[in-house]
Each structure stands twice: as C-alpha cells, then as structure tokens.
Amino acid sequence: MLFNTTQFFVFLAVVLALFYTCPRPWRRVILLAASYFFYMSWNVKFVLLLLTLTVIDYTAGIWIPRVRPERRKLLLICSLSANLGFLGFFKYYNFLTDNLVALLKLPPHSFALDIILPLGISFHTFQSMSYVVEVYRGRQEPVRNPIDYALFISFFPQLVAGPIVRAREFFADFYNWRAPSGEEILRGTLMVIFGLAKKMVLADQFARIADMYFKQPSAHPGMLAAWSGVLAFSMQIYFDFSGYTDMAIGMAQILGFHFPMNFRRPYLADSMTEFWRRWHMSLSRWLRDYLYIPLGGNRHGRLQTYRNLMLTMLLGGLWHGASWNFVVWGGYHGVLLSLERVTDLPGRKTPLLTPLRIAITFTLASLGWVFFRAADLPTSGYIIGQMFAGGASHMLWYGWQLWLIFSILVLTVLQEKLDWFERLITAPAWVYATVVASLLLSVELIGVSDVAVPFVYFQF
C-alpha cells in the first residue's frame, strides 16, 4: 500500500475517522493495529521480523537500567547485534558472499540466497537502535508499555522510509498528546498534498526520463543526453524522497505528532557540508550522533577527523544499499566533505559568489547520484565519461518540463527567502483552498497514475 495510491487514502481516512471518534485510551491500539495492517499489506510474513526486533529492543530497554553497570553493555551489544544481524543478513548477505566468491574465484552466486529485503528495515532498525543506545546512555526513560514501544517502531507514516525519529521526540508527543490545532491540521493537510504532488507530478515525471536513460545509457550516447538523464534523476530522487517525508510529517501532524524536518531545500546548499545539513537530515543526525561522534568526531586532530568523516560517509553510503556503487557514493561525499574541511570552504561566504557555489554544489551532488542510480561501477564510469567527453546529442527533457523546473526553482528560492509555505497556512481561506485545489489538479493532470511508482527509498 503505497502513499500514492487510492487504497492508501481510503486507509488513511478510515484510520483518522477511528482515531478521532474512539475514546482516547483506544487510540494507541488503533494506531498500532493500523500500522501493522499497513505493514502486512506489503508482506504478512515480515511482520514477525518487525515484532521480533520490537520485543528484543523493548526488553533490552526495560532491563538495561535494572542490571549492574557491567552487564548493561552486554545487553546493549545483544540488542545492537540482533538489529545489525537482521539488517546484515537481509541486506548484505548476498553482497558479502558474492564478493567472497569473486575473491576466492568460485562459481558466481555460489552461496547466494533468494532474499527479499523487508520493507523499511534500514529505517526501523536505526530508530530502534537509537532508542536502546539512548536508554543505555541514560538519556531516555525506558518505555514500560509494550504497545507504546511497538507503536514507536511501527508508526505507519514513517515506518518504511523515515524520517528516523528519536524516541524522546516521539514519546514527548505521545505521552503529552493534545489534539492538533486548526493551524496544525491545515499545515499537515497541505504537507500531505504537497508531498503527493512532489511525488506524482515531479518525481514520477522525471523518473520516466531517468529510468529511460539509466536502463541503457549506451542507447542515449552524448553529453546532453547524459546530463539530462542524470539531472532528471537528481530531480526524481529529491522530489520522491522529500515528497514521501512531507506526506509522513503531514500525516503525523494531523494525528497530533511532530516529526523533525527531513529536507530543507538541499539543492540550494552552497557547499556539500551545507548539503548534508539539508538532505535526509534525520539520517545525517543519526550518523553524527551514533557513528561520527562515538568514533571521535573532530576531537582528535585533523587526520582523525577526516578518517571519521570518511568512515561515517562510507557506512552511510553502504546503509543505502548493498553494492560497491553505494560505497563509492559514500566515499565520494566523504572526500568532498573532507576537502571542504581542509579548505574551510563552508566558512568563507561571499554573497556575490553564492549562486555559483550553489550551482557547483548541485553539480557535484548530481555527479554523486550517478553512482547511486547506475547499475554498476562500469556503467557509472561510462555515464560520467559521457557527461564530460560525450559527443553531441539531444536533451531527453521536454520543453514543458524545463518550464516546470524553472517554476519550482523560483518557488524554492522564494520559500528560502520568504517562507511562503508558512504564510499560506495563515493566508485568507480562498488562497489556501486555491493552492490545495491547484495541487490536486496538477496531480490529476500531470501526476503519473497509470501505475503507482514505488518510492525510491522504499528499497532501502
């Protein structure tokens, strides 16, 4: 049940109706049942995995403060091992064995298994691990009620692709729940519709171009074709993922929960450091708090800092998927971040040069997306070769798509400067209603609806 389907909106309407009409003590059960139903609509069997991890981490959370200090670490290790073990098996088993087989020159796929990646495993394991670590660190009270904890892990708006929410953020809303104000409901509704439009009108349109190009780059040789294919993917991945998170955050807000922002106009970043402060912010925060800082962060000299940055970005890359492409993608960003630190680029701001810096940052990010999207490293190499040394060719974009992007760029810059989104919430009723109606009309007319295109990040 994808967010961009009629079934999901019927499901959401039923959940909202039940949630707001039932007595308050039942609401957690309604949300939990809805979340498990949502997960089971994808695959019934994997609910057991979700349940198992929930039980393990709930139990660890309960026991960690109760046992002697020297045993706490053992419990933490058990919990983390379970999460990483499941994640490793489902996500990385075939990658590891295929590489081992290649190294030992055994027949290809000798130990390969037919493994289905459970939906959202990368997200809910990270969320669950963060809870156990926080309990271990004494920064989070253990959650006593298993239903509450199960809901924290499985809450349907963010179960499959985040944002990765901290336990204290979630439970602050949960235990002090108050009905959302009219303004919050308007904001939430607008975010859901905006997210839907981002996904169906923009991401899915650009997916057509990106899919066509990346499916067989050699069928579209030349510089212009390569750039248009790559830029189409840059657009697709941003609008797809940020559209999903907008919907998740909006739905949560309508239900009375306040999730952290996950994107803040990343393509307007004027450095890669800034880019990572604006792109998939909940993951960046997780990697910073549970990987980069524990590795030492920037506290042990320059070399160690660069090493920590590289390690964090390499693992962050690998988190996205089990292939060398993601490792290279992570490494590429690690190198760029390190270079920026060496040159102190983010600190040196010249207003006149900001547009140029933004353009360069966007180009660098787009180059990185080649590794993210291409089938393998040789294909990535071919595409990058075409981008810089390909012959004459034709654009894969239509004229109206260029106009669409130009309009989006103007809106994005205006949002950065004026925050029109927030102004819309309090604007006169007809303005708000006309914007929502126009978004719905754009979904109807330009949105891709003949097939429900899955969200890109659902595969992670």
């Binding site: 004229g399 009723a429 007809w430 209603a433 929502v436 109606a437 009309l441 109807e444 007319l445």
Partner: protein
C-alpha cells in the same frame, strides 16, 4: 479551518469542471484518439446544416456501412436525408449517449437507425471498459450513477466512476501529449475541423474485396485466401471461424441500452428502426442459430420498426466485402441505397 478544508475540494471540482466540462479543453482533444474522434464526429453532426425535419440518423460500429452520400443521392426519391454517427468500436451503451448529444431535445430526426447482427441476437457488453474511452467527453455528472453501475464488475465500475467524475484523470495522457506536441496537435485539429466532416461524408473505403476466400465450415478451416491478403490480414480473417459474440446475459444488456434509446424517443415523432446488417461475405452457419434477443419483443410492443430481415441479403457477397466483417465501398454504396429505400418503405412518404 473547516472552511479552508471544504473549499479546497470545491474549488478543485470547479476548476476541473471548467476545464473538462466546458469548451476549454475538449475541442483540443487529439482528433485521432478514440475520445477525440467521437468528439469531432459528434461536433460535425451538431454543426451540420439541418436540412429539415426529414432527417434520418444512423448509429453503429465499423460494420455499419451507411454511406450518407450514396443514400442522399436518392433524397429526391425517398424524401429523407441521411446522416451517420457510426463510429468503429462503439456499442449500444455508447449510442445512447451519442444520440443524446446530437439530439438533446429528441426532436431532430425522423428516424434513428440502429444496426444489429441478427434480430434474434443479443450481446453482453456490460463489462466493456473501452466504452469509457469513447464516452468520457460527453458524460455529465448526472450520468455517473447509472453509467458506473452499468458495468458488471467492481473494478470497471471504479474506473468508470473515476473517469466520469474526474475527467482529468482520463485525459491526462492527452493533456501531457498536448503539452509536448502542441504544434502538430494544432495542425491535426485544424485539418480535422476543415476536412473531417467532408472526409467522413465523401471518404472511399476502397474496392478491395475478399473474392477468392473459401471456407470449409464443417472442418472449421479456411481453404484459400484472396491473393492480396498478407499474413496479418489472413490472421484477422480467421476470426470468421469464431462466433461473433458471447451470448451470456440473455439480452439484459441490449434490453437496457436499446430500451433507453427507445424510451428517449417514446412519444416523439422520431421512429426507431432496427436493421439486420449484412452478415458478411458469407452467411456463417451459426448466425442462423436461434437465440434470445430483446429486439423482436420491442417490435411486438410496437415501439420500434424492424427492417426486412432479408433486405440486405444481396450485399452478402465476397466481392462486396473488404474483409471478413466490413463492406467495401461498392458494398457500402449498394447497402446504403437499399437502406434508404427500406427506410422510405418503413416510414412512408414524408408528410409535410
């Protein structure tokens, strides 16, 4: 808050209706698409010079061989002027809505001609979602319940409901194609507006025929094909060995949609004439099997006129058919002349 949340869908529906239920976008539909072609041909009929109160209109699918030009050459003899809105692939459900569109007050025509394969035949097209492709431009809000429920399965009903309520969903490919290919679309539209009606009126279906086609009906085998037929055409011709339709609903579908056309013209001066089309270059053995259709029942009630069942038997010849199902130009012209005379026989002389 409530005002904003309620106003948004209302504005959306208003914008949607403005674009797709008025003349804002529909005149720009791709003229060679199913919906655009129907829209164009119905538009031509609405704009056609109204010759007087002795006009006869025909509906039908691609097998309806009425060439209005040939029939109108006999106007001096018959007293009637003929027109056709027969469109390939349309069905009785489409014909009802098409007639309503070209004759909104049910007073324009002396007669409506409805072709069928056989008076004892019936067809079950209730699940045919393709009808939506033809009808979306002309469906109204008030049609939604009946049109939606006329489909026989829930998936089709849902798609019919969505398509007839939110036409933009249905026209989105057309709309996006318009954005991408604006200039060629406008050129095609210009051509269609200038020449579409004349092309339909004067168009030549060609004289190619299926003489040389021979069938062993007992063995269920085609013995020889005309020499001009390529592999694709031969494959298509093999359909002659299959029953033309499935007959599963005992006439319910025909009774509903023919009944609605009949009811629409009940008490008006417009007569409904059913004709049995030439069955093909050959009379297939199974087309003579008795079946249960509603048409003879309508005739017995006196609500319709039935053309002579054998009025067009003389057209059922291989040299008058372009393939196993469709008449060629000489066949269609001959059929049109016979039809004009049969209509005159049934209606009698125009009473001025």
């Amino acid at each position: 808050m409530l005002v904003r949340l309620l106003a948004a869908p209302l504005i959306f529906f208003a914008l949607e209706a403005l674009i797709f239920r008025t003349g804002v976008y529909l005149p720009y539909l791709e003229p060679f698409s199913t919906a655009g072609n129907l829209q164009g041909r119905l538009g031509d009929e609405e704009k056609r010079f109204y010759a007087g109160s002795y006009e006869v209109i025909a509906v039908g699918d691609s097998r309806m061989g009425l060439r209005a030009r040939a029939a109108n050459q006999l106007t001096a003899e018959t007293g009637y002027t003929f027109a056709t809105i027969a469109i390939p692939g349309t069905t009785p459900r489409c014909w009802y809505y098409m007639l309503r569109e070209v004759d909104p007050h049910a007073n324009r025509y002396s007669a409506v001609i409805i072709p069928v394969n056989d008076y004892d035949d019936s067809q079950d097209g209730a699940g045919r979602l393709l009808d939506l492709n033809y009808l979306v431009p002309i469906l109204r809000y008030s049609d939604i319940p009946e049109f939606t429920l006329s489909f026989d399965n829930w998936k089709a009903r849902w798609l019919a409901f969505r398509g007839s309520l939110l036409k933009g969903f249905f026209f989105k490919n057309d709309f996006q194609d318009f954005l991408v290919n604006y200039k060629p679309r406008m050129e095609r539209l210009r051509w269609d507006r200038q020449n579409g009606a004349a092309a339909a009126y004067n168009g030549d279906w060609g004289a190619r025929n299926v003489a040389g086609l021979s069938v062993d009906w007992k063995a269920g085998k085609i013995l020889s094909y005309p020499s001009w037929m390529d592999a694709n055409k031969r494959q298509e011709t093999n359909n002659i060995l299959l029953p033309a339709f499935t007959f599963s609903d005992g006439g319910t579908y025909d009774r509903k949609w023919f009944g609605k056309i009949i009811d629409r013209y009940r008490g008006t001066r417009t007569r409904i004439i059913f004709i049995q089309l030439p069955r093909g270059p050959f009379v297939r053995p199974w087309s003579l099997w008795p079946r249960r259709g509603p048409i003879r029942g309508f005739a017995a009630e006196g609500t319709i006129l039935l053309a002579d069942q054998h009025a067009f038997d003389s057209v059922e010849r291989p040299d008058l058919f372009g393939d196993a199902m469709h008449m060629n130009q000489p066949g269609a012209e001959r059929f049109s002349v016979l039809l004009a005379r049969e209509v005159r026989r049934l209606l009698g002389p125009p009473s001025r």
